[in-house]
Amino acid sequence: MELVADRLTKQYDNKIAVDRLSFTLKPGVTGLLGANGAGKTTLMRMITGILSPTSGEITYDGKEVKSEEYRNILGFLPQDFGYYPEFTGKEFLMYFCALKGLSKKDAKVRTSELLKMVVLEDVANKKVRKYSGGMKQRLGIAQALINRPEVLILDEPTAGLDPKERVRFRNLIEELGKESIVLLSTHIVSDIENIADRLIMMRSGRIIWDGKWTEENGSLEEFYLKEFE
């Protein structure tokens, strides 16, 4: 299980959003830290295959990220996502189960498992538009887990979650990281400080730190503030 990015570059007109990044991700939680505009979202979109790199390549166990095989094992939570207004939480998950190739029977079982996991089973039949921000975010996390992903990409997943939900979410991510490659982007240091096996910090499209943050390195929060503010 290995996701390899090789000299990955993305350029928009005159702006280089991601500049020749090379790294390998293995099972575990990798935190992607950086201020707004650092290139985190662009990088994540390239890893999911939504965005094509200007140059360089990304492969997962030799598979191209544009392939169906890769999409079959990929889970993704974008920074902002929408929903059809007529969907209930359950219907939203059933829809994505269908798009991810689950049969109706399997989709029902998986939807109920996921709604339970993200504590939304009581509001499963309520319209998503009536959900609070935190509930929508939990639903988004549930949809990312439908196909039991081997590669899970989460872009600012804790946005909108209350402190209690945040703790529950961290525990869930820690568990998932034992079996899958989890890449989690955030600009909130405390979200990943204790759960990330590895940290990648980005500034202006480049990696400025890559490795495990240990106590010898000092306070991550202070380092982050110094580098990004």
Partner: protein
């Protein structure tokens, strides 16, 4: 031994696995299997379930209206049916392109079907139903219309294709993506234009050969626009 008995026996001899073990087991199984490629028929069936009833009802309304004309031959409503065509097209485009409007495209992109596949399936289903509606309506309307079949077909097809071409053009722009209801505004504009100027020109005076040529050109343009819209799905983020 009955199936039910075998199931009960198996259930009693093996406990329910916990969620983690189940996930691990299913992942292992998946590694040993080839990716289940979804057939196009299955993709169509999935999307069919999620196309809203209003799309089918609009087609039904047009068919009923056309049938009314056939029953009461003195009741000439070809222009009225033609007037509805821009709205049928606008509603269809609105439905087909709504993933973008509601911010679902990014999520759909990372599924087995992909956003492009989902859009293609929706467009194919809606387009096919509209094509059937127009064909059947032409047959219903022809006896009551004082014109030949080419004129009847042109009265239905031209406003429809003009609306859908314009909708696709606008939907590919950022403004169009953010304001999905543009399709209905376009439908209104096409409806107004055809009401004021073109209906009379089509129904009276234009030679069938010229109408055929216009329709063929519009169909070619529509296919070209569809291809461009599908391709833009791949590059939407680039």
């Amino acid at each position: 031994m009955r199936d039910q008995d075998i199931r009960e026996l198996l259930q009693s001899s093996a406990g329910t696995p916990d969620a983690k073990s189940k996930d691990r087991f299913l992942r292992e199984i998946r590694k040993r299997q080839d990716t289940n490629r979804m057939s196009f028929i299955r993709i169509l069936l999935i999307q069919f379930r999620y196309i809203r009833k209003r799309v089918w009802l609009a087609s039904l309304l047009i068919l009923i209206l056309s049938l009314t004309v056939t029953i009461d031959l003195s009741f000439d409503r070809l222009t009225a049916v033609s007037d509805l065509m821009p709205f049928l097209a606008g509603l269809g485009m609105l439905e087909a392109l709504r993933a973008d409007m509601h911010g679902m495209k990014e999520l759909e992109s990372v599924t087995l079907i992909s956003a492009k596949g989902a859009l293609f399936a929706k467009t194919a289903l809606i387009g096919a139903s509209h094509l059937i509606t127009m064909l059947v309506s032409s047959i219903f309307l022809f006896p009551s219309a004082a014109s030949d079949i080419t004129t009847v077909a042109a009265m239905l097809l031209i406003p429809y294709t003009v609306t859908s071409i314009l909708c696709m053009e606008v939907e590919r722009t950022r403004f169009g993506r953010e304001n999905g209801y543009c399709c209905l505004v376009i439908a209104f504009l096409v409806f107004g234009t055809f009401r004021m100027m073109l209906h009379s020109n089509i129904s009276a005076g234009t030679a069938p050969g010229t109408l055929m040529l216009i329709m063929a050109a519009l169909i070619v343009l529509e296919i070209y626009e569809l291809k461009k819209t599908m391709r833009s799905e791949e590059y939407a983020w680039n």
